[in-house]
Symmetry: D2
Subunit: 421 residues, 4 copies
């Protein structure tokens, strides 16, 4: 076993990439570190998306970091490495990491479509991936319907489709060129079909609202998108199966889309820890008993959250390319450790940041203190799907008890939106 590999063996705690491509990506990200740190406070207060930073990302190829090399990208293929990059980025600014996550995870899922999808999807994926690699395309998802809205596709009468509805919580939207919009095709009978039209920002009827005002993650450009009979050709629509089909195979793609986000909250917690320990270490009055206890517990918790995340990422990477077995089983085997890790990361990252404020004291309660920002940013974790804490309890206990239930949160939401309220 080479020294290289020996080092990699130990690399479970998200401290270093495990592939050369990952190292290239992290190296490029490092170049932006001081700029992002400098702007983080101001962008947070004003709720401003760091457009110039993302222009820089585009120029250096970072917007195509997860695009295969043969399509012009950096070729980062391991979710573990993407998460390592997001840790580093989130240590500087969690909002920026959240926005870049959108693009990087899209690169991963599009690469899968490009390799394994049906012909028209492969073609669409290749086009988008090449464009992401050059920095031209910034591709957002649109998953959650705005309150009261049901985003739907209806036939335009000539073989194409019209998209109407409203999506909320679309991160990186200020610079988006395309949107993957999760929509419902209603059927004559039955609960309908889930589909994902890919819509260009310039499509008639599409409006990007400038309405983000979050408790935290304020520089992530997390906006609402309104669709008013936007035309979409049939070739730009990905099929996601029938509502209520209970195909756990979809859990694989949902894992790939979201699991690298664990790095964001690990990075936010690490940033808080470094600030707090630094302040404690510099105090001339010594380190009180409670602070020593909190420091030790904080470092233990950081290790636990990093290693739980790292292990779940390595597991997802190992299963990701293996399509030989039962795909439903594969979906659950990717999702379940992700959810173990997510529950751990969400709980412990909030705990770590909160304890860091306690160590530092009233100083950290100022609106422009980095710990105050992290206290707000880190709270986002438990709301992210799949799954929020509440839904995660249902999923994980259902797995443990072998309950028959619908694990596809997009399907559950679609069914719920059709229920009489």
């Amino acid at each position: 076993m080479s020294t290289e590999t020996v080092h990699s063996w130990a690399a479970v705690d998200l401290r270093a990439p495990i592939t050369p491509e990952g190292r290239t990506m992290v190296g490029l990200l490092t170049g932006f570190d001081s700029r992002i740190r400098d702007e983080a406070g101001g962008n947070d207060r004003a709720g401003t998306f760091p457009v110039e930073t993302f222009e820089g990302f585009a120029k250096t190829g970072l917007m195509g970091a997860t695009v295969p090399k043969e399509l012009g990208g950096l070729g980062v293929g391991k979710m573990y490495d993407v998460a390592v990059g997001l840790v580093a980025l989130a240590e500087a600014d969690a909002s920026t990491a959240l926005a870049l996550h959108v693009q990087l995870s899209r690169g991963l899922t599009l690469t899968y479509e490009w390799r394994h999808g049906p012909a028209h999807v492969r073609e669409l994926a290749e086009r988008l991936l090449r464009s992401m690699a050059t920095g031209e395309a910034a591709v957002c998802g649109g998953l959650k319907d705005a309150p009261g809205a049901v985003t739907e596709l209806t036939p335009d009468g000539s073989g194409g489709w019209l998209l109407s509805g409203r999506k909320t919580l679309v991160s990186m939207a200020p610079i988006a060129t395309h949107f993957f919009v999760h929509a419902l095709k209603r059927a004559e009978e039955g609960p309908g079909t889930l589909a994902v039209p890919v819509v260009h920002r310039d499509t008639p009827g599409l409006t990007v609202l400038d309405n983000w005002d979050g408790l935290g993650m304020r520089a992530s450009g997390t906006l609402d998108i309104v669709f008013d009979r936007c035309p979409v050709p049939a070739t730009d629509i990905l099929d996601r199966g029938e509502v209520g089909a209970r195909r756990d195979a979809v859990l694989a793609g949902q894992t790939v889309s979201s699991i690298t986000m664990l790095g964001i909250y690990a990075g936010a917690a690490q940033a808080a820890r470094d600030i707090a320990v630094g302040i404690c270490a510099r105090r001339s009055s010594g380190v009180p008993a409670a602070a020593r206890t909190l420091i030790a517990e904080t470092d233990a918790r950081l290790y636990a959250l990093r290693t739980a995340a790292g292990a779940a990422l390595l597991n997802a990477d190992a299963l990701s390319d293996d399509l030989t077995g039962d795909l439903d089983e594969r979906g659950r085997r990717m999702m379940t450790p992700f959810q173990y890790a997510k529950m751990t990361v969400n709980e412990l990252s909030m705990r770590v940041v909160n304890d860091c404020l306690t160590m530092v004291g009233g100083l950290s309660y100022s609106g422009d203190h980095p710990l105050a920002r992290l206290y707000r940013d880190v709270r986002a974790g438990s709301f992210m799907q799949p799954y929020s804490y509440v839904d995660g309890v249902d999923y994980l206990s259902g797995q443990a008890l072998d309950l028959d239930q619908d694990n596809d949160y997009m399907s559950v939401r679609a069914l719920r939106s059709q229920a009489p309220s």
Copy 2:
């Protein structure tokens, strides 16, 4: 035992006042409830102090709620009742409760000075109390030196004193008419003396900065005050003894000054709970397992924090008027249960609010959602002296182990400010 008293017996959980005067005060506060709720969100976002609300308080006599009746006040004398009022107020807006707390606790400590202080202090106290009762005087404290500053009194050469320095985190400052400024009189030898000059806002050299920008409690008007050789007559100075004297008797006054604040965090937690349970109850999709668990634990925690606070308040009330025994012992017997309750209230109120966001989901992550405000407001609790969490661990473990240590945080701070950094 009359029915009245029987009911009072059970009144440990801060749900109802235990004296007629307390009921009057709470009744008056109720009249402002809808106004305060309506304005809370806007004031929070803008960081605006609710001046008109406090004008209303002044007109109804609430600014003199804790002034004895014989001096024109409402005569609320029980800390328990003040806390009950602050619970109700904080359910509407925690910032407003924090600001009014300044005035109400000042009424309590001034009443003590009026009854038990030396002659010149009795006179000063009476003057201020009468003025608080009419709504003319709004009296702030200035406890914490701004970073790097040491607020000091120096002789003016003709029997009076000059005050210079800078205080931070002075709540209710926008409408303050007077400031109780904790200052150091340096001695030729030894660590000096703690003194509290009472300074009118119009005193030459006094500047109220408009610099509050907290993570939360943003409408509490918590400002910095700068003193530049402000003249103070000797009769307007309260003596607080030598630095490092280790007189635990001072813990009594510090308890009275701060213990009613427990009501603020109880109220904030209750407000979050009511919002979250209301939303869960209205959801047509049923209440998931995790939400039921969180609701039950939340209600248990609310009860625990309310009763710990209530018991500590009743204890402080019982000991407050009894000056017959060892005053150091009395100080510790008031402070220790207060600190037990404070540690409990701080921890559980944060936990409750955090869990309420979890129950409600992403909806609560919007910057203008009441739960997002409460998440920021409630975090203030653990920073409040006496004692912050870290200092509270030192105090309480010192009590349990019978360690010889300085429990007067004002003295500890004064010593620390004189240490070589």
Copy 3:
């Protein structure tokens, strides 16, 4: 307000009785303290019930502590005072406290029956109470059916009844003279009726098994009782209404029966704390940071659990004698704070004891160390009905959400025992 009453006001933390009768009882219990402490370890290891201690209790009148004075008892009528006594007793030995609790709470509920029950029950209650006061009668409950058993009453054909079945977890059984056995009268139709036959130990067909071997509470004499067609006259049966009737009025009696047990776990936690702090204080190597932190948090948690329990007890006492309003509402108003306090006491007492072992270190891991006994004893709390933790979550969340559900755990159990498994 007299000094006496002022002191009582502050008495929420279970440190002192609030009535003269309570003080008498606690004084008598104190006389047994050293004997109980001396025997606690040995009885625990051997699983021996302290028969001689209970003979001593009988001689001093403690077995009739909660019997009204007019019937020869000590006349302790406040649950709060009973709990104070159990705290003191559990500090010496939790098992002994658990066993005496059976007798003391029976005194309270029988007194209620004697005052408010139907004629034949009043007569039965008086007879038993007088006998408890003299120390002759020791009266156990039999609530939980042994696994697989259903304890039932069937007509004997001549107006009387026959009791068959098996009860488990009957504490104080070694010295019991009577058993209150919760049984089912099956009906031709419907789910049947709950009834409580009172059975003398010498009744033909009754066998007291000697089968207790608990993880903890090993000296509490918690045995199984087998009933094989035991004859019971109709006058010795208390009616508890139809299964599934959903009458929350029964929650009042269930509260009185169980709420004083909170004192047992408060006492166990206090004992652990005193041992651990004593050991830490004597160590010449100083008190490490983690131990100081744990000591402070332990004392805060002890206060929280004591005051939550104290407040719930005062609430139950206040409502107990008031039969003027809606009895269902009264039941819920007694049970709900009890459950808040129970969840708090159970969680925090386990936490406190566990942390005390951590402070003391490996020394406490010896099978005969008092902390090892407390670690096992304190674990019993969360299993006690009403309600276990799991059932308590259902009850409390149901209350918060205003759900229509059966809150009578005896009824729920009866229904469950009739369900096809």
Copy 4:
């Protein structure tokens, strides 16, 4: 990267060995599984060491599992794999795993001595390792002095040494053939030297007491050993350096000696979880809300503790064979993640087992229920050195704050034993 290696990449959660030798060992252990499970309850109650099981281990070569193949052993060289084996064993019986851990970790450290030690130690190590491989030698450590004792080496006047003192908490002692006894060589001046004489059980003056009576781990044969002027030749003594030398290099060996124990607590927690989930799944009355929540959190915590342990083990394995850099730095880099993981494993394993009792209910409170045994067994974790929780807080906070302190707990203990009490 081969499929094999890909699978290994994901193997961070202690579910499968990462080397063929590890797989062989786990396979052999599996053969004992049902026997160990059958005997676990009885051995626990009686405090009996499973001598026949260890005879079986010896026959199959398991007592030499970590002995290099060239010396006749199974050649398991990865701590990760040893921990995987201990997980499996502890799922059947934690006591048995604790005892076998003694032998397996001794094989690892002796292999290191055999490869890197001075000549006389290499010779001693080879002799012992060959004997462990055949199943003849069972080698215990003796680390902790019995209360009041100081175990010391004094010259015998003719070049040899005499060992006197008493060690406590020596696991696997009933079948031990040799003891590695941590002893003090007092110097004329200075605090003396730490040394480890290797003593055969038949040495004159050595007595194995039969005094184990733990709260848990009752079948682990954890006894006291008394040494009364036992003769030890100089060649059988390993040097451990001066007391107070502050050489962090020793942390490497201490890590190897103890880190695989993490598997024991992971296995105990897993066993509790499987019992509890199995019972919940079989209940016909459905799974209540609180149980679903606890199940999900339990599985997430199990994953977190397994992956934290797994990552720390992989890190230790990676650094173990690398002696090229700064050995003090290597010691810290092995110990620090071990301590992160230990704090996590100890806390979460106790939490998991405790919650499993809560899920199952009163049924689990019986003295002979497997969950009752696990509740007692799992408590041992936080007492194990290095470090107990309290000492671990000092170590980890010292590392974070870069404090200059003695991290060698054997040295700290030796100094403490010499301090005036």
